[in-house]
Each structure stands twice: as C-alpha cells, then as structure tokens.
Subunit: 339 residues, 2 copies
C-alpha cells in the first residue's frame, strides 16, 4: 500500500527541488503548508458520559491518529497516505463506529462502508456493505487507485479487494460487548414502535480524515459501521461521494458525520466546496452555512471536518459534541469533544 | 401506488381554488405551467444503426412515455406520479437499458438500480443491485415515501419492497437475446484485455424523467440496468442522489445518463442545480457548462435532461446521440435521437 507513497515522496522532492521560488509560502521554502483534521463521530454527547479515564482514551486515540497522519504529510507523501494511515488507527480502535468498533446490523452482523476522494484528479473510491475487510478504507483506496469504477458493494467489493491482499477477517472480528448492548436496546425500541420508520438514535458514528499535503493536494476519507440495527441493505452517506466525502484541490476536502440521509439529500460535503467556488465564501463561512443553517433548518444533525488549499481548518457541528482533532497550516493543534 | 396521486389532485384543486389570483401565470388561471423531459440513454449512436422501423419504435415509445407523464401532470397530480408512470413505460420496453431491457452482469444476471427525488421536500429514495423487482422505480418511490432511509441495496432492498406489494419477477424476466449478445462480446473483450480496468463500451444505457407539476414541484427519477458485464457489485450514478438524480424546487430537476463514474465524481445532477442557485445561471447555461465543458474536459461522456421552475427544458449531451423527448411550458413537443 505504500508503493505509491514512496513514488509520491520522490515526485515531491523532484518537483520542489525544481521550483523553489514557487514554494515561497514557508520559511523552509521547500514545502507548501500542510494541515490535517479528523473526526470520530458527532452526536448527543454530554460531559457526564465521560469518566476522566474514558475521556483520556478518546483524546489519546484522536491524537495518535492525528499525529500519524501529520508525520506522513511532513515527509512530503501524497495526502491519501496520511488519510488512510490515520483512518486505519481509528478503524482499529473500538472507541469509534468504524472497523473493529462497528455497530451491529439488525441481523447482528457488521456491514462496513468507506470512501476516499483525491482532490487533484477527483478520482474516488467507495465500498458499501462489506463484512470481512479489516480496514475498509484500504479497500476504498484500492477502488480509487486500481478500478475503473468508483463504488463497489457487498460480496463483489470483497472479491475485488481480495486481489490486493487486503486483510480479511471473520465478521466476528468486529464484535464488541458495548455495541451488542446497543443493538439489544435498539431492537427493543424497534419492537415497541413496531414500525418501519424507527428513528435510530445512534446514527452518528463515523470516522473521517481530511488533509492538505505539501503539493497542495486535498484528500478526504470516511469510514463507518453505519447505523445500529440497520436493515434492508441501508447505505448511508459515508460511501457516497459528495454526501459524506468530497475533495477538490480548487476548494476543499470534507468528511462528514451525522444523520446520513440528510447528508445525502443535502449533498453536504460537496455543497461546502461548491459554495466556496461559486459564492467565493471562505471555508469557515461555507461550512458554517451548510451545517448550522441548511442542515439545522432541515432537521439534519451532525458535523464535518474540512480543510482548504491554504490549510485552514473548519470543524463545525450542530450536535452537542463531535470527537475531533486538527493541526492547521500554522501548526496549531486542537483536540476536543465539546464546544 | 396512486393513492398519493389522488390526494395530490384533491390538494391541488383545493389550493388553486383558494388562491386564483396567485395562479396568474396561465390563461386558465387555475394551474401553473407544467413540463416534462425524459431520456432513454446517451452514447455513440449513428443514423446508420437505425432502420426506419427501429427508429420509429424508439420514437413511438419515447412519445408514449412522454405523453403518459404529461397527461398525469395535466390532472394536477404530484409530479412524482408522472415521473414514475413515464419511467415504468420505459422500464417495460426492451428498447432501453432499464427494467426488461436491462443489460447482463458479468455473471449473466441482471442487477437494477433506480432513484427518485422530490424537489419540494428534497426527500429521496434509491435502490441499488436488486434482481427481482419488475419496476425498480416503484421500489425507489417506496423508499422515498415510506422509509426513513434514502438508499437501500441488494436483498435488503427487495425485502423492503415486498412490504409494498411491488411486483416481483424471476431474474430471467429481464433476459433478452440482444443484451445477451452484448454480454458475450463484452466478455470476449475482457478476456483479450485480461484487465480489471476493462473500459466498458456500453456504459450509457439508462432511462430518466424530470417534470414540473402544476404546484411548482420539480421531480426527477432515473432507472437503469447498469453496465454490460459489470462486476464486483459496481454501483453507478443512477441510484446516487446528486450524481444521476437531483431535484430542488428552488432550481431544477435533473436525470443523467452517461459514464456513471464521471457523473459521481463531478456530481453532475446537483452541480447543474447549484450553479443556477449560486451563480444565477439559467438552466440552459448551467446544463451546458457542466455537460459540454466540465465533463468534456474530464473525459466524461453522457448527457442529461432537466427542467426548471418556469418549465424550461434542457437536454444537452456530449455524445453523438441521446434518446430524448420533452414538452416544455409552452407545450412545445420534441422527440429526437441526434443533434
């Protein structure tokens, strides 16, 4: 998986050594600004939910992913390597609803979705409903880099991934007692409501990373276990390019987390970037407008992390909390859960 | 399925009878303008491919679907009923790659996708990869109207549809000799190329309908059998809200047909509407910009049909042909395949 990373690094060195005068925005004059922002989901969170130990665990894991991604950006690697590395750390933690922390479906299995988009080429890759891929973001990356398609689903996506030696696991790999309890609670509520229109209260778990690399590339990636007790092969916004994930070097990179159906209908990720391009808004203005006005008016809960070509970071959310962390172009580091 | 249609008609009558002065844009003063546009796919078409009889068949079926949708709009029904009725006629014809004319997957089956979006509420419904639903647009409509979700896939989508008495068929219902021959040719080419990156030449089959109803609602729907010899659970743009289908009463309704991966990456359907809203472009300008500049620059072949709130129609395509038909707000009817 890092072959491309090595090539990118070599390319970066070659490019910058031949156009030093162009790269005048940093003191070292050999690299453009870099930035990274990530989230581990948004939702109805309250400080009372967190013991000091649990809060420390979240902060530590968010920091670990953030710094791993940042170090890769510092090497001059392509942004996609930083996105994938940081997301894998979050996928491998049971704290977040992605990878090993994935929630259960109605049938007590796990179905995972992921997507990634590269702002330079606007190439994108997404997988939906896979059950045996340890790190779904790797499969999404393989789709982006090695398939003529953008979105693969189900067994077919797993067959595709097999060709790239992406680690497979039994579906029970994703079992955790905490998520199983959530399923039991959700099914009890569904039974009481006896309705197809059960409103899932636990709908905000997702992880996502956006970066600006030294070459000015904006890359976004998102990974999720979906919605507790989801049925009917439901696909949320995380694997939908434009909804949960979007990147365009001309504007911004966005990864979303929230009530996915609203994020699809309102094209949240791409709408933020398009408002920058078409309305000449700043990243902060565009992100605030979509999350705190459009989505709030529509009733859509959630948030996003975003970065623009100057390394500005925006992390607005309209819920009470969002697990998030960032290092902007000035090197300012933030790790937070609440406002 | 027409319960809502009847209710809509009643609602329309009540509304218009109580605000006649508002409805001043038509001579009858009881209805707003209506318009409809539809496509049956775009691609490398040449006049030499068509015998007079075959061309007449296409024209007749496009007209039949167009007029069926238009008549429903004339009753004052909600636009979604016109969209669904017109798409069902195209799905039930073997001439188009949707419903009974669906292409074959690599494994010689049929997997169908469809989506619909209502511009008033921005509610949307989509299904991906169903094998046994005779008219996929009906299942997409059921998702829009009866599910808290936007997108359902595979077996789960079929289970959901069962609850709404939507007609099921054996997968062989979609078998046609013509499409089987296409599969044989495609598999021979894949074998020669021995590549995962086989570029499917037959990638443009889709049907789609957009309407403006008397109440000013813009509705868009799309249905497809996907790509001949598709593998790995590939999902194209047709069931992706924002890519293949988009509707917003404030701007336009769009249904796309073309090389789906480009339409996802460039958010074709929603981008046209957003350029109208954010850049104050006309429908014709926005549609032309996206299809004939952005997509052409990127190498993405295809076209769209679109209608705006005034009943203007745009049907640009960057291929040699697109099966299409429309009746605009002035009652001008068009049926065409080439420029």
């Amino acid at each position: 998986m890092f072959t491309k990373s090595v090539l990118s690094s070599v390319f970066a060195l070659l490019l910058f050594s031949s156009c030093v005068t162009w790269a005048n925005q940093s003191e070292t004059s050999k690299q453009g600004p870099i930035a990274i922002a990530l989230h581990g989901g948004a939702g109805t969170l309250s400080p009372q939910q967190f013991t000091p130990e649990l809060k420390a665990q979240y902060y530590a894991k968010l920091s670990e992913a953030l710094e791993a991604g940042y170090r890769i950006l510092q090497t001059g690697a392509d942004g996609q390597d930083a996105v994938v590395a940081a997301i894998m750390i979050l996928e491998n933690s049971p704290l977040f609803n992605a990878g090993v922390g994935a929630v259960y479906t109605f049938d007590a299995e796990h179905e995972l979705d992921a997507s990634i988009m590269h702002g330079k080429t606007r190439e994108a890759g997404a997988i939906a409903g896979v059950k045996h891929i340890k790190n779904p973001i790797l499969a999404a990356q393989a789709v982006m880099n090695h398939s003529v398609h953008v979105m693969l689903s189900g067994d077919g996506a797993e067959t595709f991934a097999e060709q790239f030696a992406i680690e497979r696991v039994d579906n029970t790999h994703f079992n955790t007692e905490r998520r199983l309890q959530s399923l039991h609670k959700a099914k009890a509520r569904i039974k009481r409501q006896a309705s197809l229109n059960y409103q899932h209260p636990e709908k905000f778990g997702t992880v996502g990373v956006v970066v600006l690399d030294q070459l000015g590339n904006l890359v976004a990636g998102t990974s999720t276990g979906g919605m507790t007790a989801k049925r009917f092969g439901r696909i949320g916004d995380s694997p939908i390019i434009g909804a949960g994930t979007f990147a365009d070097n001309a504007s911004c990179a966005v990864s979303a987390t929230g009530h996915g159906e609203y994020f699809i209908r309102y094209q949240v990720a791409s709408d933020i970037c398009k408002r920058m391009t078409y309305q000449n808004l700043s990243l902060a203005e565009a992100a605030d407008e979509v999350i705190n006005r459009v989505l709030v008016d529509a009733g859509g809960d959630g948030g996003i992390v975003a970065v623009d070509a100057q390394g500005n970071v925006a992390m607005p959310f309209n819920t009470t909390g969002m697990y998030r962390a960032s290092i902007d172009a000035n090197g300012v580091k933030t790790v937070a859960i609440f406002e």
